[in-house]
């Protein structure tokens, strides 16, 4: 690790100001991406600005039709939250199969979506639920936020403050865990809104990151049942292929995980 200066601001504005002052600053949340990258000397930020203990960035609230999770809320809190379990239990489930206990006690939803790892779980939930990402500057719809492999709509220095999820009628998540990293080899989040719209998002499958799956959405709109997907064929081209799974295997998983997510959604 190269020399760096660590800051622990107590407000978002303070954090943003520190970022602007630094020559090459980086925000730190759970640290699961930034710290290993710094240890491998692949990044050498001049300043590391810790967002994890900013009180205004931690908290969960369900009110009316919206579940709001503040950006630095650790996965474990999301998993245990009565508000989450009541309003969108699929998110509590997603968090329970994310990483492992050590990861869940430090990792944050804000860190996950800011990084947009193509195999991360939360991007699938945001895209399928049509969530809105709130930053210290603006609000960004999920489908505009995720822009490809490790790429988001965030400007330099912009801080995610919260994610707000419209509460669906039904939602479910199913994930095939990567045997080593326990990221998503493929994970599919399905949601049916109160007005009957169906949205399906898959992570871990595409080389450009989280993606909608129109063929599955169409089938589920007609018939919200796992059996409705029996004859759906997901094309393998454009999907990831690596030592843990071929593209056609992932294509199969998109379908199978979607079926299991629908069953889980009820």
């Amino acid at each position: 690790m190269y020399q760096t200066t660590y800051h622990r601001p107590s407000t978002v504005d303070e954090a943003a100001a520190l970022f602007a002052k630094g020559t090459e600053a980086k925000y730190l949340a759970g640290g699961h991406t930034l710290i290993p990258v710094m240890k491998q000397r692949l990044a050498s930020p001049s300043d590391v600005i810790d967002l994890a203990s900013i009180k205004e960035l931690v908290g969960i609230e369900a009110s009316g039709d919206t579940l709001t999770i503040k950006a630095a809320t650790p996965y474990f809190d999301i998993m245990q939250s009565a508000d989450v379990k009541k309003s969108i239990p699929a998110i509590a489930y997603l968090t329970s199969v994310l990483g492992d206990p050590a990861v869940r006690h430090r990792g944050t939803i804000g860190g996950s979506i800011a990084n947009n790892d193509p195999a991360a779980d939360f991007p699938a939930a945001l895209l399928a639920l049509g969530a809105t990402v709130k930053t210290n500057k603006r609000s960004i719809a999920a489908h505009d936020f995720f822009q490809g492999l490790f790429a988001t709509a965030l400007d330099d220095g912009e801080i995610i403050t919260a994610v707000s999820f419209p509460i669906p009628a039904k939602a479910g998540y199913a994930k095939m865990r990567h045997p080593a990293s326990r990221f998503a080899l493929t994970g599919v989040f399905v949601a049916k809104t109160k007005s009957g719209d169906v949205r399906v998002a898959a992570t871990g499958a595409s080389s450009t990151g989280v993606m909608r799956v129109p063929a599955i959405e169409a089938a589920l709109k007609t018939n919200w049942a796992a059996a409705a997907l029996d004859n759906v064929k997901i094309p393998a081209n454009g999907l990831l292929a690596d030592i843990h799974g071929s593209a056609d295997y992932r294509a199969n998983l998109v379908k199978v995980m979607a079926q299991r997510a629908v069953t889980a959604a009820g």
Binding site: M176, A180, D248
Partner: protein, 618 residues
């Protein structure tokens, strides 16, 4: 190619195949593994200018051997000017037998700069420098007569030794592999050709099982394949071919001393309720799951090894073990063992040996290991040798101590030596209430005021024990599992082990060893694989890509034991450290191939591979 090595009788095998009623062919890979001991390798070297003496703290499984190698092969310093200390090390599995460049550099540097020098590897460094394991590609054929008896076995194996030949590496795919190709079966003719190769990869050397997992996997996959081809029950085919008379001389050097293979298979089949399996399989099918069952009847050769035998095969060292028993003047006991503890629990088991024989509480016994200044030369721990060889050395030294103690006691109690027995820490005259406690006997030895004429003072004896044969743990593992046809993922239903390790000194420690071995065997079968890309880059160089077995990947093991006492050592023990890693993999792959109805499947049987085996390659 490095060398082309052959064992067995090619002519006899050719003849057998010419007469065969059936021939079964199998091609398979034994996947390369990374040992990943919990503690990475580390060394602290300290040069004392005044004494011209080096001290090396290192993560070694065999500190005396390390000292020998550093001194005699690498001229770091003469042995008497080099102390190697390897205290309780965090796991080795073979990877810490060898001497690596880092400890040599640390030693050299400490002299150069005149300060202690420390090196500790990180996990990725461990992935790319610790010796890897396995990495064979094999084609084998088995010939059967019309009664389904094996009449011949022909094996051709390519063994990848990596970029350089590591310390033990040439013994692993040859003498530790080919000599186990008879398995539990009475095979009259065997021929094995092993071609070792250099590649631009990390050197391969002994890793938990060292050659015997490769042999056992091949044989047990072959037997299950044969059962399916010949339409026989896998248990029945094995029974038809079991060796039942002992000692049994195999055609591949090994002479098995004792065993009862039917007993372990019986035990395993009963424990898993084999008779009930067809009903369970049908029920699983009705629920959309593919259920399978797989056997693995392994035998292995450990308790290494008779020095003369290995010397005649070209080994540069002997494989005896040493022990010194020191009874201290007021009766506590120190056992200085040449064995080395890096997860085996010797402190418990060896202390038990002393306690069982002398009737002293284990709190009175101290096991000392891992320091070349404290302990006489020993060969260290690997090859499941510590109880059979190290334990026997302790027993032999104890026998000498007991003999001297009895002489002293007889003298002090004015009784005849032949009437003295040792019970509950006391030397008693049998049939009387005359006794003298061990501490008093020790004190008498060290004060020397009243010893038998001509007896030297002191109560301390040494033994070097050279085994007369390998030992042959054997057993039957049966695995029942389900495959999810949608994802190819395997879930365990049951895993039963019936092992024959001879006498068990500490059942809990044996259980721990078996669990660990099974975890590694299952890890190889389902999860682990060291993969290189086309440009020689190790793609799996961290736990992000190399899937280590975790508790939730594994079943709850049901362990059973049968016992035929080893006639080769006074304890009747065979050793148990590697058996699980040797026998487990075949049971898993046999079960998955049974579940999916496709016999073509390589390790690791990842969900991706299993799914393709079910649905075909797109």
């Amino acid at each position: 190619m490095i060398y082309d090595w052959v064992l067995g009788d090619e002519a006899a095998v050719k003849e057998a195949f010419s007469k065969a009623a059936n021939v079964v062919t199998l091609e398979l890979t034994n996947n390369r593994l990374v040992p990943n001991a919990m503690e990475p390798r580390s060394a602290v070297a300290d040069y004392d200018q005044a004494e011209e003496h080096f001290t090396l703290y290192t993560t070694s499984q065999n500190p005396h051997v390390a000292r020998l190698v550093l001194s005699a092969f690498y001229n770091i310093a003469p042995e008497h000017k080099l102390r190697v200390i390897a205290p309780d090390v965090g796991g080795g599995f073979g990877s810490k037998i060898y001497v690596y460049p880092e400890e040599m550099v640390a030693l050299w540097a400490s002299k150069k700069v005149g300060r202690p020098v420390k090196w500790t590897g990180d996990r990725t460094e461990a992935f790319i420098t610790d010796a890897h394991g396995r990495d064979h590609v094999t084609k084998a054929e088995m010939a059967f007569d019309k009664d389904n008896k094996i009449i011949g076995l022909n094996v051709k194996t390519y063994a990848n030794l990596g970029a350089y030949m590591s310390l033990f590496s040439s013994a692993v795919p040859t003498y530790l592999y080919a000599t186990l190709l008879s398995g539990q079966y009475n095979i009259p003719a065997i021929h094995a050709e092993i071609i070792t190769v250099y590649t631009n990869t990390v050197p391969v050397d002994a890793y938990r099982g060292a050659g015997r997992p490769e042999a056992s996997y091949l044989l047990e996959r072959m037997m299950e394949t044969a059962a399916r081809q010949l339409k026989l029950d896998p248990g029945e085919l094995r029974r038809k071919n079991f060796i039942t008379q002992f000692p049994h001389q195999t055609p591949v050097i090994m002479a098995y001393d004792i065993g009862d293979f039917n007993a372990s298979l019986d035990t395993a089949m009963k424990a898993i309720d084999y008779a009930g399996f067809p009903a369970r399989k049908a029920k699983a099918k009705s629920e959309g799951k593919l259920r399978g069952i797989g056997f693995s009847c392994y035998i292995e050769a450990c308790g290494i090894a008779p020095s003369k035998a290995v010397g005649s095969l070209g080994a540069g060292v002997g494989l005896w073990e040493s022990a010194e028993v020191r009874v201290n003047p007021v009766g506590t006991i120190e056992i200085l063992t040449g064995s080395h503890s890096h997860g085996q629990g010797h402190e418990t088991t060896f202390a038990q040996l002393v306690s069982d024989r002398l009737g002293v509480p284990v709190s009175q016994v101290q096991i000392v290991h891992g320091d070349t200044d404290k302990v006489q030369f020993g060969m260290g721990t690997y090859g499941s040798r510590s109880i059979a060889v190290g334990g026997t050395a302790i027993v032999k030294a104890l026998e000498k101590v007991e003999a001297k103690g009895k002489k002293i006691a007889a003298h002090l109690l004015e009784a005849s030596e032949g009437d003295i027995v040792i019970e509950n820490g006391e030397f008693k005259v049998t049939g009387t209430d005359k006794s003298i406690a061990l501490p008093m006997v020790a004190l008498a030895a060290y004060t020397a005021h009243n010893l038998p004429d001509g007896m030297e003072p002191g109560l301390k004896e040494t033994a070097f024990y050279d085994p007369s044969n390998f030992t042959f743990p054997a057993g039957a593992y049966i695995c029942e599992l389900e495959v999810d046809p949608g994802t190819g993922k395997t879930s365990f239903v049951n895993f039963v082990a019936a092992d024959d390790f001879g006498r068990l000194i500490n059942p809990m420690i044996v259980e721990g060893q078996v669990h660990g071995g099974l975890a590694q065997g299952i890890g190889q079968a389902l999860l682990e694989s060291a993969i290189y890309d086309g440009s020689g880059q190790l793609v799996t160089a961290s736990f992000m890509d190399y899937a280590m077995p975790r508790a939730d990947d594994l079943p709850s093991f049901k362990l059973n034991h049968t016992s035929t006492l080893c006639p080769g050592n006074p304890l009747g023990v065979k050793g148990c450290g590697e058996a699980g890693a040797i026998g487990a993999s075949a049971a898993v792959i046999n079960a998955i191939t049974d579940a999916i109805g496709n016999n073509k499947l390589e390790m690791p049987a990842t969900p991706d591979r299993v799914w393709h085996a079910i649905h075909g390659n797109a």
